[in-house]
């Protein structure tokens, strides 16, 4: 095997969306100066930070807190709003030679549709991701705890675009399959699973929460087993639905674990904070892993896990 160039085929598809490799950067973990360090053009796709209709200041400091093998964040969807994003961010984003997925969050079901409709007019958007699962904003935006609302939001958003729409789900539910099923019922082209898990850290000496907003979303390696379990549950129940695995993915092995569990692609989040080039280093490590396992096409691994989710026995 020495000296032979690694030639594994990393391409995958998410419904009609074809990616040169399965590695994306997750919403809210990429932007600003990160593209000065990370070679963004080599990614499978970029998922932009969630775009809201109006500018948002975000939550009070402290907004992040390190926890064992993870971190809590409560940023609060700060951002320039739709107009500000188009003015400030779009000029850079449209130069990216990778696929571009726009993440949106509305205050109401209708606002999701309006955001998608307006952004759909931009020339090179490849897909949308509906952030119906941010645990850090009030006014009941955590829509993905409710299957009926999830279906509604997806339906309205799908009506506003012909491009693929993915629903990003929260792990803060008892039965994520029910929510995934509702999203698909509403017309979702795929599922992004999962957002952060609600958590808390306490500074007992100050008798105070460590995070300014009291609770935050847990991400990083500590989240991985939970995310992997949920991806596996969704993929077992809905084998034809493309799933993007998210949650603590930091290595090429993590990527392959999610794909074997059923994910067609993955997103890297917290790992990019640990190492801004994590995503491309993971892409570089995949061919060697596949060759060593005698796998020539990464897509052949998707959903090959031998265990299927069991229906609860009655």
């Amino acid at each position: 095997m020495t000296g032979r160039p690694l030639s594994a085929d990393l391409s995958v598809t998410l419904g009609s969306l074809a990616l040169p490799n399965p590695v994306m950067v997750a919403s809210g973990t990429f932007g600003a100066l990160m593209d000065r360090v990370l070679d963004v053009h080599r990614l499978g796709a970029v998922v932009e930070k969630t775009i809201t209709m109006d500018p948002r200041k975000g939550n009070p400091h402290p907004r992040v807190w390190e926890t064992p093998s993870g971190m809590l964040n409560s940023i609060g969807l700060d951002g320039p709003g739709l107009e500000g994003w188009i003015k400030k961010r779009w000029p850079a984003v449209q130069e990216y030679r990778c696929k571009v997925i726009l993440s949106v969050s509305g205050r109401t079901v209708e606002e999701f549709g309006e955001l998608v409709r307006r952004l759909d007019q931009l020339p090179r958007v490849d897909a949308f991701e509906l952030n119906i699962s941010c645990p850090n904003v009030s006014h009941g935006m955590d829509l993905a705890t409710d299957p009926a609302m999830t279906e509604k939001v997806v339906r309205v958003s799908k009506a506003a675009t012909r491009r693929p729409v993915f629903a990003k789900l929260t792990p803060n539910v008892t039965d994520i399959v029910a929510v995934a099923r509702a999203a698909v019922e509403g017309g979702a082209d795929g599922i992004s699973a999962v957002n952060t898990l609600r958590g808390m850290a306490v500074d007992w000496r100050k008798r105070a929460p460590a995070i300014g907003a009291v609770t935050g979303g847990l991400s990083g390696p500590a989240l991985k087993p939970v995310a992997l379990r949920m991806v596996w549950e969704i993929c077992s129940a809905l084998p034809k639905v493309p799933v993007i695995g998210i949650g603590g993915i930091s290595t090429a092995d993590d990527v392959l674990e999610f794909m074997v569990a059923g994910a067609s692609a993955v997103q890297i989040g917290t790992a990019s904070f640990v190492n801004a080039q994590a995503a491309t280093q993971i892409i570089d490590a995949l061919p060697g892993k596949l060759e060593a396992a005698g796998v020539s096409r990464i897509r052949d691994l998707i959903g090959t896990i031998t265990a299927k989710a069991q229906k609860p026995s009655s």
Partner: protein, 271 residues
């Protein structure tokens, strides 16, 4: 900032500087010139716990004799990341991302007053050294406060870069007993306030008090902020401070890793 280096750094040496304070020299490939007041983001362990990087101001930067850049970090042990750093021996490797952020603005004023508290002293040594090397000749006066003499980190190094240092300690173990803000009030009458520039770095409460004095006296002041950081590249939105909005009518959160860590005090909205 075209040449941000993201990769390994090798520990060249590590010395205990005073109680709970260490000076570490790292060798990194030559990267963009560091402006005093910028910082680097250090991955202390290649592990998942501790997971995140820690930001450090540069104490000194110089060319190493081995073709690398030698970076000095002066730091206190405050938690698990810095505990891990303090255990590193020469040859150990850590992750390095830098240089990052915006450095201090060298102002044309005839007198620069550095107001520092505790480990907030760090950026001023390189600032003075760099300014002197670039032929700037303001009078530089350091007003330095610490809890004890042992916490006046590096104070005796400043004479070598042409800085007059005055200290206060909370226990009176060196200099007057008191707070650095009292030292400013004492010194101000003797200074030409029309040709003065204040720079400050230290605990948040101290910097707020310095900013209030500067505003009261109409003195220009630059502040170097620190907050818990995530990515240090402006992507995550963790390290924010309140600044006036661009039209001045409201405030907004500014990401200190890319818009700071240095700010003109006029822009800050004290919480």
């Amino acid at each position: 900032m075209a040449g941000i280096y993201n990769g390994d750094a090798t520990v060249v040496r590590q010395d205990r500087y005073s109680t709970n304070c260490w000076k570490m020299t790292l060798a990194v490939p030559r990267h963009d010139a560091v402006e005093a007041g910028q910082f680097c983001h250090i991955l202390t362990e290649f592990s998942t716990d501790p997971l995140l990087r820690r930001p450090f101001s540069y104490w000194d930067v110089r060319d190493g004799d081995d073709g690398t850049l030698h970076v000095d970090l002066l730091y206190t042990v405050v938690g698990r990341g810095t505990e891990a750093m303090a255990r590193k021996a020469p040859g150990a490797r850590m992750g390095y991302l830098g240089p990052l952020g915006l450095g201090f603005t060298p102002k044309p004023a005839k007198t620069w007053v550095f107001v520092a508290g505790g480990v907030g002293i760090v950026p001023f040594y390189f600032f003075a050294k760099q300014a002197r090397a670039r032929g700037r000749n303001p009078r530089m006066l350091l007003l330095f406060g610490g809890r004890t003499e042992a916490m006046l980190y590096g104070i005796d190094d400043f004479a070598g870069v042409g800085v007059e240092a005055q200290a206060v300690t909370e226990d009176g173990s060196r200099g007057r007993k008191g707070l650095v803000t009292q030292l400013i009030e004492e010194q101000l009458p003797a200074l030409d306030r029309k040709d003065l520039q204040v720079y400050t770095c230290g605990p948040e409460r101290m910097m707020e008090a310095v900013v209030r004095i500067a505003r009261r006296e109409g003195l220009p002041c630059e502040v170097s902020m620190e907050k818990h950081m995530g990515c240090a590249l402006g992507a995550c939105g963790a390290c924010v401070t309140r600044v006036l909005s661009d039209d001045g009518a409201d405030w907004r959160y500014s990401r200190i890793c890319i818009e700071g860590p240095t700010y003109d005090a006029c822009r800050l909205v004290l919480e």
